[in-house]
Amino acid sequence: MDLGPHAAFIWASYVIYGGVVAALILWLVWDGSRLKAKLAELEARGVSRRAQRSAAPQKDA
Protein backbone atom coordinates (compact mmCIF):
# COMPACT_ATOMS: atom_id res chain seq x y z
CA MET A 1 0.00 0.00 0.00
CA ASP A 2 1.53 3.29 -1.10
CA LEU A 3 0.53 6.13 1.23
CA GLY A 4 2.69 8.70 -0.48
CA PRO A 5 5.42 10.97 0.88
CA HIS A 6 3.64 11.52 4.21
CA ALA A 7 3.09 7.84 5.03
CA ALA A 8 5.03 8.13 8.31
CA PHE A 9 2.53 10.73 9.63
CA ILE A 10 -0.42 8.54 8.66
CA TRP A 11 1.03 5.37 10.22
CA ALA A 12 2.11 7.24 13.36
CA SER A 13 -1.47 8.56 13.78
CA TYR A 14 -3.02 5.12 13.46
CA VAL A 15 -0.43 3.39 15.67
CA ILE A 16 -0.79 5.95 18.48
CA TYR A 17 -4.59 5.83 18.14
CA GLY A 18 -4.62 2.01 18.29
CA GLY A 19 -2.23 2.02 21.23
CA VAL A 20 -4.30 4.42 23.32
CA VAL A 21 -7.60 2.64 22.53
CA ALA A 22 -6.00 -0.76 23.33
CA ALA A 23 -4.61 0.64 26.60
CA LEU A 24 -8.09 1.92 27.57
CA ILE A 25 -9.67 -1.47 26.86
CA LEU A 26 -6.97 -3.41 28.73
CA TRP A 27 -7.10 -1.05 31.73
CA LEU A 28 -10.91 -1.34 32.03
CA VAL A 29 -10.85 -5.15 31.69
CA TRP A 30 -7.97 -5.49 34.18
CA ASP A 31 -9.65 -3.11 36.66
CA GLY A 32 -12.95 -5.01 36.43
CA SER A 33 -11.26 -8.39 36.99
CA ARG A 34 -9.27 -7.04 39.95
CA LEU A 35 -12.38 -5.60 41.60
CA LYS A 36 -14.40 -8.80 41.04
CA ALA A 37 -11.60 -10.89 42.56
CA LYS A 38 -11.43 -8.64 45.65
CA LEU A 39 -15.22 -8.73 46.09
CA ALA A 40 -15.22 -12.52 45.77
CA GLU A 41 -12.45 -12.72 48.38
CA LEU A 42 -14.44 -10.60 50.84
CA GLU A 43 -17.61 -12.58 50.25
CA ALA A 44 -15.67 -15.81 50.79
CA ARG A 45 -14.71 -14.44 54.21
CA GLY A 46 -18.40 -14.02 55.03
CA VAL A 47 -18.70 -10.28 54.36
CA SER A 48 -21.70 -9.80 52.10
CA ARG A 49 -23.95 -7.04 50.89
CA ARG A 50 -27.23 -6.21 52.66
CA ALA A 51 -29.21 -6.85 49.45
CA GLN A 52 -27.73 -10.33 49.09
CA ARG A 53 -28.23 -11.12 52.78
CA SER A 54 -31.90 -10.14 52.68
CA ALA A 55 -32.45 -12.08 49.43
CA ALA A 56 -30.80 -15.23 50.84
CA PRO A 57 -33.05 -17.92 52.42
CA GLN A 58 -33.33 -17.79 56.20
CA LYS A 59 -31.64 -21.07 57.13
CA ASP A 60 -31.80 -20.55 60.88
CA ALA A 61 -35.49 -19.65 60.96
Binding site: P5, Y14, L42, R49
Partner: protein
Protein backbone atom coordinates in the same frame (compact mmCIF):
# COMPACT_ATOMS: atom_id res chain seq x y z
CA UNK B 1 -50.73 -1.83 38.09
CA UNK B 2 -47.59 -3.23 39.64
CA UNK B 3 -45.00 -1.05 41.30
CA UNK B 4 -42.50 -1.97 38.55
CA UNK B 5 -44.66 -0.65 35.71
CA UNK B 6 -45.26 2.64 37.56
CA UNK B 7 -41.52 3.39 37.50
CA UNK B 8 -40.02 5.28 34.58
CA UNK B 9 -37.07 3.78 32.66
CA UNK B 10 -34.73 6.27 34.35
CA UNK B 11 -35.99 5.21 37.78
CA UNK B 12 -35.59 1.54 36.91
CA UNK B 13 -32.03 2.10 35.70
CA UNK B 14 -31.29 4.11 38.85
CA UNK B 15 -31.01 0.82 40.70
CA UNK B 16 -27.30 -0.17 40.42
CA UNK B 17 -28.10 -3.90 40.71
CA UNK B 18 -30.58 -3.65 37.83
CA UNK B 19 -28.04 -1.62 35.82
CA UNK B 20 -25.36 -4.27 36.43
CA UNK B 21 -27.71 -7.00 35.22
CA UNK B 22 -28.82 -5.08 32.12
CA UNK B 23 -25.32 -3.85 31.18
CA UNK B 24 -23.86 -7.37 31.57
CA UNK B 25 -26.27 -8.55 28.86
CA UNK B 26 -25.84 -5.51 26.55
CA UNK B 27 -22.04 -5.14 26.75
CA UNK B 28 -20.96 -8.05 24.47
CA UNK B 29 -23.38 -6.97 21.72
CA UNK B 30 -22.29 -3.34 21.94
CA UNK B 31 -18.60 -4.34 21.84
CA UNK B 32 -19.22 -6.66 18.87
CA UNK B 33 -21.10 -3.97 16.90
CA UNK B 34 -18.34 -1.42 17.64
CA UNK B 35 -15.58 -3.83 16.52
CA UNK B 36 -17.42 -4.77 13.30
CA UNK B 37 -18.07 -1.14 12.36
CA UNK B 38 -14.51 -0.03 13.13
CA UNK B 39 -13.02 -2.87 11.05
CA UNK B 40 -15.34 -1.99 8.15
CA UNK B 41 -14.51 1.71 8.47
CA UNK B 42 -10.76 0.91 8.40
CA UNK B 43 -11.28 -1.24 5.31
CA UNK B 44 -13.10 1.66 3.59
CA UNK B 45 -10.46 4.14 4.75
CA UNK B 46 -7.47 2.17 3.47
CA UNK B 47 -8.83 0.26 0.48
CA UNK B 48 -11.80 2.23 -0.90
CA UNK B 49 -11.53 5.94 -0.08
CA UNK B 50 -9.57 7.91 -2.68
CA UNK B 51 -6.85 10.42 -1.80
CA UNK B 52 -8.01 14.01 -1.40
CA UNK B 53 -7.28 16.26 -4.39
CA UNK B 54 -5.34 18.70 -2.20
CA UNK B 55 -4.22 16.72 0.86
CA UNK B 56 -3.43 13.45 -0.86
CA UNK B 57 -3.30 10.34 1.34
CA UNK B 58 -2.98 12.36 4.55
CA UNK B 59 -6.76 12.67 4.45
CA UNK B 60 -6.75 9.14 5.93
CA UNK B 61 -5.89 10.76 9.26
CA UNK B 62 -9.31 12.45 9.11
CA UNK B 63 -11.06 9.08 9.61
CA UNK B 64 -9.67 8.85 13.15
CA UNK B 65 -9.01 12.51 13.96
CA UNK B 66 -12.58 13.74 13.45
CA UNK B 67 -14.28 10.94 15.48
CA UNK B 68 -11.73 11.49 18.28
CA UNK B 69 -12.53 15.22 18.36
CA UNK B 70 -16.29 14.56 18.36
CA UNK B 71 -15.95 11.97 21.14
CA UNK B 72 -13.72 14.28 23.17
CA UNK B 73 -16.53 16.83 23.08
CA UNK B 74 -19.31 14.27 23.51
CA UNK B 75 -17.56 12.88 26.59
CA UNK B 76 -17.70 16.31 28.20
CA UNK B 77 -21.36 16.77 27.21
CA UNK B 78 -22.05 13.41 28.88
CA UNK B 79 -20.27 14.61 32.03
CA UNK B 80 -22.34 17.83 32.03
CA UNK B 81 -25.64 15.94 31.60
CA UNK B 82 -24.64 13.44 34.32
CA UNK B 83 -23.59 16.30 36.60
CA UNK B 84 -26.96 17.97 36.10
CA UNK B 85 -28.71 14.67 36.86
CA UNK B 86 -26.63 14.25 40.01
CA UNK B 87 -27.06 17.78 41.35
CA UNK B 88 -30.75 18.24 40.47
CA UNK B 89 -32.31 14.75 40.55
CA UNK B 90 -29.82 12.97 42.84
CA UNK B 91 -29.76 10.11 40.35
CA UNK B 92 -27.56 7.45 41.99
CA UNK B 93 -25.87 6.45 38.73
CA UNK B 94 -25.29 9.98 37.45
CA UNK B 95 -22.10 10.50 39.45
CA UNK B 96 -20.91 7.03 38.43
CA UNK B 97 -21.50 8.00 34.79
CA UNK B 98 -19.64 11.33 35.13
CA UNK B 99 -16.67 9.66 36.80
CA UNK B 100 -16.47 6.89 34.16
CA UNK B 101 -16.68 9.35 31.24
CA UNK B 102 -13.75 11.56 32.32
CA UNK B 103 -10.77 9.32 31.43
CA UNK B 104 -12.43 8.27 28.17
CA UNK B 105 -13.13 11.85 27.13
CA UNK B 106 -9.57 12.82 28.10
CA UNK B 107 -8.12 9.96 26.01
CA UNK B 108 -10.13 10.88 22.89
CA UNK B 109 -9.33 14.60 23.31
CA UNK B 110 -5.64 13.67 23.59
CA UNK B 111 -5.96 11.54 20.44
CA UNK B 112 -7.66 14.40 18.56
CA UNK B 113 -4.77 16.71 19.52
CA UNK B 114 -2.04 14.19 18.61
CA UNK B 115 -3.56 13.09 15.30
CA UNK B 116 -4.35 16.73 14.46
CA UNK B 117 -0.75 17.61 15.13
CA UNK B 118 0.49 14.74 12.92
CA UNK B 119 -1.89 15.89 10.18
CA UNK B 120 -0.90 19.53 10.64
CA UNK B 121 2.82 19.04 10.10
CA UNK B 122 2.62 17.87 6.44
CA UNK B 123 -0.38 20.12 5.60
CA UNK B 124 0.30 23.34 7.54
CA UNK B 125 4.05 22.94 7.99
CA UNK B 126 3.82 22.88 11.79
CA UNK B 127 2.84 20.44 14.53
CA UNK B 128 1.24 23.12 16.65
CA UNK B 129 -0.07 26.65 16.44
CA UNK B 130 -1.87 28.67 19.13
CA UNK B 131 -4.97 28.77 16.99
CA UNK B 132 -8.50 29.11 18.49
CA UNK B 133 -9.63 25.55 17.68
CA UNK B 134 -6.41 23.86 18.83
CA UNK B 135 -6.13 25.97 21.97
CA UNK B 136 -9.77 25.40 22.97
CA UNK B 137 -9.30 21.63 22.51
CA UNK B 138 -6.19 21.81 24.72
CA UNK B 139 -8.27 23.61 27.39
CA UNK B 140 -10.84 20.79 27.13
CA UNK B 141 -8.05 18.28 27.86
CA UNK B 142 -6.99 20.35 30.89
CA UNK B 143 -10.62 20.43 32.10
CA UNK B 144 -10.74 16.63 31.96
CA UNK B 145 -7.44 16.37 33.83
CA UNK B 146 -8.70 18.91 36.38
CA UNK B 147 -11.88 16.91 36.95
CA UNK B 148 -9.93 13.69 37.48
CA UNK B 149 -7.39 15.37 39.77
CA UNK B 150 -10.16 17.01 41.85
CA UNK B 151 -11.96 13.72 42.32
CA UNK B 152 -8.86 11.82 43.31
CA UNK B 153 -7.87 14.58 45.78
CA UNK B 154 -11.07 14.23 47.87
CA UNK B 155 -11.64 11.07 49.85
CA UNK B 156 -15.31 11.76 50.68
CA UNK B 157 -17.12 10.24 47.66
CA UNK B 158 -20.27 12.39 48.02
CA UNK B 159 -18.34 15.66 48.37
CA UNK B 160 -16.07 14.77 45.45
CA UNK B 161 -19.15 13.98 43.34
CA UNK B 162 -20.78 17.34 44.14
CA UNK B 163 -17.64 19.41 43.49
CA UNK B 164 -16.89 17.57 40.24
CA UNK B 165 -20.52 18.04 39.14
CA UNK B 166 -20.24 21.83 39.68
CA UNK B 167 -16.94 21.98 37.78
CA UNK B 168 -18.41 19.73 35.08
CA UNK B 169 -21.34 22.08 34.56
CA UNK B 170 -19.22 25.24 34.60
CA UNK B 171 -16.73 23.71 32.15
CA UNK B 172 -19.39 22.87 29.58
CA UNK B 173 -19.06 26.44 28.26
CA UNK B 174 -15.94 25.24 26.42
CA UNK B 175 -18.05 23.12 24.02
CA UNK B 176 -19.70 25.98 22.05
CA UNK B 177 -16.35 27.80 22.08
CA UNK B 178 -14.69 24.77 20.43
CA UNK B 179 -17.53 24.29 17.95
CA UNK B 180 -17.73 27.93 16.83
CA UNK B 181 -14.04 28.84 17.25
CA UNK B 182 -13.49 28.31 13.51
CA UNK B 183 -16.30 30.80 12.73
CA UNK B 184 -15.61 33.41 15.40
CA UNK B 185 -11.86 33.75 14.87
CA UNK B 186 -9.44 33.54 11.97
CA UNK B 187 -7.89 30.13 12.41
CA UNK B 188 -5.60 27.80 10.54
CA UNK B 189 -8.05 24.97 11.20
CA UNK B 190 -10.61 24.44 8.46
CA UNK B 191 -14.27 25.40 9.14
CA UNK B 192 -16.95 22.76 9.80
CA UNK B 193 -17.40 20.53 6.78
CA UNK B 194 -19.72 17.76 8.02
CA UNK B 195 -22.20 19.20 10.54
CA UNK B 196 -23.37 22.34 8.72
CA UNK B 197 -26.73 24.02 8.18
CA UNK B 198 -26.36 23.62 4.40
CA UNK B 199 -25.20 20.00 4.56
CA UNK B 200 -21.76 18.35 4.37
CA UNK B 201 -19.19 19.74 1.93
CA UNK B 202 -17.14 16.53 1.78
CA UNK B 203 -17.55 14.16 -1.16
CA UNK B 204 -19.44 10.97 -0.34
CA UNK B 205 -16.35 8.84 -1.10
CA UNK B 206 -14.70 10.38 1.96
CA UNK B 207 -17.85 11.12 3.98
CA UNK B 208 -19.15 7.52 4.08
CA UNK B 209 -15.98 5.97 5.64
CA UNK B 210 -15.93 8.90 8.08
CA UNK B 211 -19.54 8.25 9.14
CA UNK B 212 -18.84 4.52 9.65
CA UNK B 213 -15.75 5.37 11.65
CA UNK B 214 -17.64 7.93 13.77
CA UNK B 215 -20.46 5.47 14.53
CA UNK B 216 -18.00 2.64 15.25
CA UNK B 217 -15.87 4.70 17.64
CA UNK B 218 -19.01 6.15 19.27
CA UNK B 219 -20.21 2.60 19.99
CA UNK B 220 -16.74 1.82 21.34
CA UNK B 221 -16.99 4.89 23.59
CA UNK B 222 -20.38 3.75 24.93
CA UNK B 223 -19.02 0.21 25.45
CA UNK B 224 -16.05 1.53 27.43
CA UNK B 225 -18.27 3.94 29.34
CA UNK B 226 -20.62 1.13 30.34
CA UNK B 227 -17.68 -1.02 31.41
CA UNK B 228 -16.24 1.93 33.35
CA UNK B 229 -19.60 2.42 35.12
CA UNK B 230 -19.74 -1.28 36.02
CA UNK B 231 -16.21 -1.04 37.44
CA UNK B 232 -17.12 2.04 39.44
CA UNK B 233 -20.18 0.33 40.94
CA UNK B 234 -17.99 -2.64 41.90
CA UNK B 235 -15.43 -0.24 43.42
CA UNK B 236 -18.12 1.40 45.55
CA UNK B 237 -19.48 -1.98 46.67
CA UNK B 238 -15.96 -3.07 47.59
CA UNK B 239 -15.42 0.13 49.56
CA UNK B 240 -18.66 -0.23 51.52
CA UNK B 241 -17.95 -3.92 52.25
CA UNK B 242 -14.44 -3.11 53.44
CA UNK B 243 -15.82 -0.35 55.71
CA UNK B 244 -18.44 -2.77 57.06
CA UNK B 245 -15.75 -5.36 57.79
CA UNK B 246 -13.59 -2.78 59.58
CA UNK B 247 -16.61 -1.68 61.69
CA UNK B 248 -17.43 -5.29 62.55
CA UNK B 249 -13.81 -5.98 63.57
CA UNK B 250 -13.83 -2.86 65.77
CA UNK B 251 -17.07 -3.92 67.47
CA UNK B 252 -15.73 -7.42 68.12
CA UNK B 253 -12.47 -6.14 69.60
CA UNK B 254 -14.33 -3.53 71.73
CA UNK B 255 -16.70 -6.13 73.17
CA UNK B 256 -13.75 -8.50 73.81
CA UNK B 257 -11.95 -5.72 75.68
CA UNK B 258 -15.08 -4.97 77.75
CA UNK B 259 -15.29 -8.61 78.87
Amino acid sequence: MSHMTQQSLTQRLANPTRFMDLSRRILPWLAGAAAALIVYALYLAFFVAPPDYQQGETVKIMFIHVPAAWLGMMGYALIAISSFGYLVFRHPLADVSAKAAAPLGAAFTFLALVTGSLWGKPMWGTYWVWDARLTSMLILLFLYLGLMALRSAIEDEALAGKLCAVLGLVGVTILPIIKFSVDWWNTLHQPASVIRMDGPTIHNDLLIPLVYSAIGFSLLFFTLHMKGMRNEILRRRLKSLTMAEVDRARTVSASAAAE
